[in-house]
């Protein structure tokens, strides 16, 4: 049974449609990310769940109760903001205790729970400090502790890690996920960072221009994106355009500028114009004439753990990434062949991205 349910949720600001007909069901204890570029409506959706923005249409249910009309101070949600929004004039302990105070929890129990939560986030010794004395990462944890100590129905995270340095961000992602798993709190994360979303979530909800483009497990969404937008947002891909030549035995053959690209699909009819997409890491470099298509290495970039190749072919420029397995690779200017398995080719409808 779904714990958090969004039904037909829409938000319009005058003529501008921020969120359109959103339907989503989140299980108890699930970690779901709203992922998309700025302006896609993910933050507005979060604000509606939190109660700071009134939906134009639709309803929100938590544990089967319709909370659409409930005021934000009565929804019992935990919110962590991008800027942490700690109370600067209160100590860390008082910050974390605030929600419990509002719930009229007695002082002894309050102190106990605050202490517990602070040690859970690794800030046990900081109880009497003030926010300005803490680093960004530490303030982040205080914000998290403050939101979790009240045992919220749902935890809402609004781009909580974007203000942190890259290294700390990675560590926090792991920690956050561990804490969430320990407590089993249903969590919604809003982010524009696809690797963050995929790293932390049970499912990701990719949004584009106010609508849900795809909701799936990270692996599924990445490997089987439903349209060009999701493909491009979750990772790099080589997009080709062609005409369906043949469909038989579960294999579709697409003619891309004279080259035959096969893929395992039966969704499209002969004669349809489609996009085919192959992710860079799925391509192998082979002898110049042995691949599906041949080309010349235009540029080669070394990133430490991987190589990126730009290969100019008759079908256009291909991006290929290879793990750094220890030996030097083909140099710039050399001819190579590109090979891949038809299992890795995705066929997508021809549309705007």
């Amino acid at each position: 049974m779904s714990y958090l349910r969004l039904e037909g949720l829409s938000k319009r600001f005058g003529d501008f449609v921020a969120v359109e007909d959103m339907n989503l069901e989140v299980e108890k204890g699930e970690f779901v990310s709203f992922l998309g570029p700025s302006g896609c409506g993910k933050t507005t959706t979060l604000q509606m769940i939190a109660g700071f923005v009134n939906p134009t249409e639709g309803r929100i249910f938590i544990n089967d109760q319709d909370i659409t009309q409930v005021k934000p101070d009565k929804r019992n949600l935990g919110i962590v903001f991008q800027s942490y929004a700690l109370f600067p004039h209160m100590t860390i302990a008082d910050n974390v205790a605030f929600g419990l105070e509002m719930r009229k929890v007695e002082k002894p129990e309050r102190d106990e729970r605050v202490k517990e939560m602070l040690s859970l986030v690794g800030l046990g010794d900081f109880a009497h400090r003030f926010p300005r004395e803490l680093s960004g990462g530490q303030q982040q944890r205080v914000a998290l502790a403050r939101a979790l100590v009240i045992r919220p129905e749902v935890l809402l995270l609004d781009e909580p890690l974007s203000a942190l340095d890259a290294k700390i961000r990675e560590d926090m992602q792991i920690e956050l996920r561990a804490i969430q798993r320990t407590l089993g709190t249903t969590t919604i994360l809003v982010t524009h960072d696809q690797s963050e979303a995929m790293a932390m979530s049970d499912r990701i909800a990719v949004m584009n221009k106010g609508r849900l483009a795809q909701v799936d497990r990270p692996y599924t969404a990445y490997e089987y994106p439903e349209d060009g937008f999701v493909t491009g947002f979750l990772g790099k891909s080589n997009m080709l355009s062609g005409l369906v030549k043949d469909v038989s035995n579960g294999v579709t053959s697409v003619d891309v500028n004279g080259v035959n690209v096969t893929t395992h699909s039966e969704r499209y009819d002969i004669g349809a114009t489609v996009h085919v997409s192959i992710r860079p890491e799925k391509i192998r470099l082979v002898e110049a004439e042995s691949g599906i298509v041949g080309g010349t290495v235009g540029a080669r970039i070394f990133l430490g753990n991987q190589w990126i190749f730009q290969v100019d072919t008759p079908l256009g420029e291909f991006i290929v990434t290879l793990q750094n397995t220890g030996h030097e690779n083909v140099d710039e200017g050399h001819r190579v062949g590109l090979d891949w398995s038809s299992q890795e080719v995705r066929i997508l409808p021809q549309e705007q991205s």
Binding site: T43, V53, N54, F81
Partner: protein, 291 residues
């Protein structure tokens, strides 16, 4: 993720501004309107004092009588002089201040802005003590033997201007200084790297950018000088009347309130006109560069 309020239908902001609004309307607007009306009344001691009615007699008197002309001109001249010196001395001071190390900067700021926290009466007293015929300056000069008879500075325009410059120059320094804060110091270096001599850099790069600060500072100084009361009264004496002291005389001396009101209304109109047109001028001229 702040709370969104319904923009038009909420009465909250109006309720929250209401107390202040009520005070303002009742105790600010109404007195001013009353004064405006009062300026049209006439005054005749024989008939019992203030006579309500509608007459332009007071305005005719103020605007027509050469006595009043002299006072307006003197006030205008005084304001121009004070503003001129404040610009001349205050602008370089702000610039120099801006270039100091932070420690010195704060100390000097205290010395320059501190006097603003002291009543104008006290500051003027200091000048009175300094420049009087038996004031400290004269006592010192006579004592050393440089002069035999005291230099007359008290009850002269010079004395009043000097003291007013002292009272008002902090506003100029503040205003120019605020403008300087928005200045990118690298721009000066860029000018020099392109071959401009330091003075040229000042003239062509710095001053154009701080012009808004200079202008709004001079506006404040001019407006405050034109309506100055205590300093011209103490240091100018009976003979150097300015607009403010004249209004005082009519109101509390002669008790001719209608006439005093007319003077006040004219001063107010002049003030508002100068300030609003000046501000529009500054906005128009500098809007594009400094939004």
């Amino acid at each position: 993720m702040a709370q969104q309020q319904n923009i038009l239908t909420s009465t909250r902001p109006y309720l929250m501004s209401a107390p202040a609004l009520a005070i303002y309307v009742g105790l600010f607007l109404i007195p001013l309107i009353m004064t405006f009306m009062l300026s049209f009344y006439t005054f005749d001691l024989n008939k019992g004092g203030i006579l309500p009615g509608f007459s332009l007699k007071n305005y005719a008197e103020v605007l027509g009588d050469p006595y009043f002309h002299g006072i307006f001109l003197r006030t205008l001249w005084m304001s121009l002089l004070v503003t001129f010196f404040c610009i001349l001395l205050g602008t370089p001071e702000a610039y120099i201040l801006n270039r100091m190390s932070n420690r010195w900067k704060s100390i000097c700021m205290l010395a320059i802005l501190g006097p603003l926290l002291v009543s104008v009466v006290v500051r003027t007293l200091g000048w009175a003590i300094l420049i009087g015929s038996d004031g400290i300056i004269n006592q010192a000069l006579i004592g050393i033997g440089i002069i035999d008879t005291p230099i007359k500075l008290m009850f002269t325009m010079t004395g009043v201007v000097v003291a007013l410059v002292h009272v008002l120059i902090p506003f100029m320094v503040l205003s120019v200084w605020a403008s300087l804060q928005k200045l990118n110091p690298m721009v000066e270096s860029a000018g020099q790297s392109l071959g401009a001599a330091p003075f040229t850099v000042l003239r062509r790069v710095v001053i154009p950018q701080i012009m808004p600060g200079i202008l709004s500072g001079s506006l404040i100084v001019f407006a405050l000088t034109a309506s100055a009361f205590a300093t011209p009264s103490i240091l100018g004496g009976r003979r150097l009347k300015v607009v403010a002291t004249t209004a005082y005389d009519e109101y509390l001396g002669t008790l001719n309130w209608p006439l005093g009101a007319a003077i006040a209304v004219l001063l107010l109109i002049a003030n508002v006109l100068i300030i609003t047109s000046y501000n529009k001028f500054i906005e128009r001229k500098y809007a594009q560069a400094f939004k």
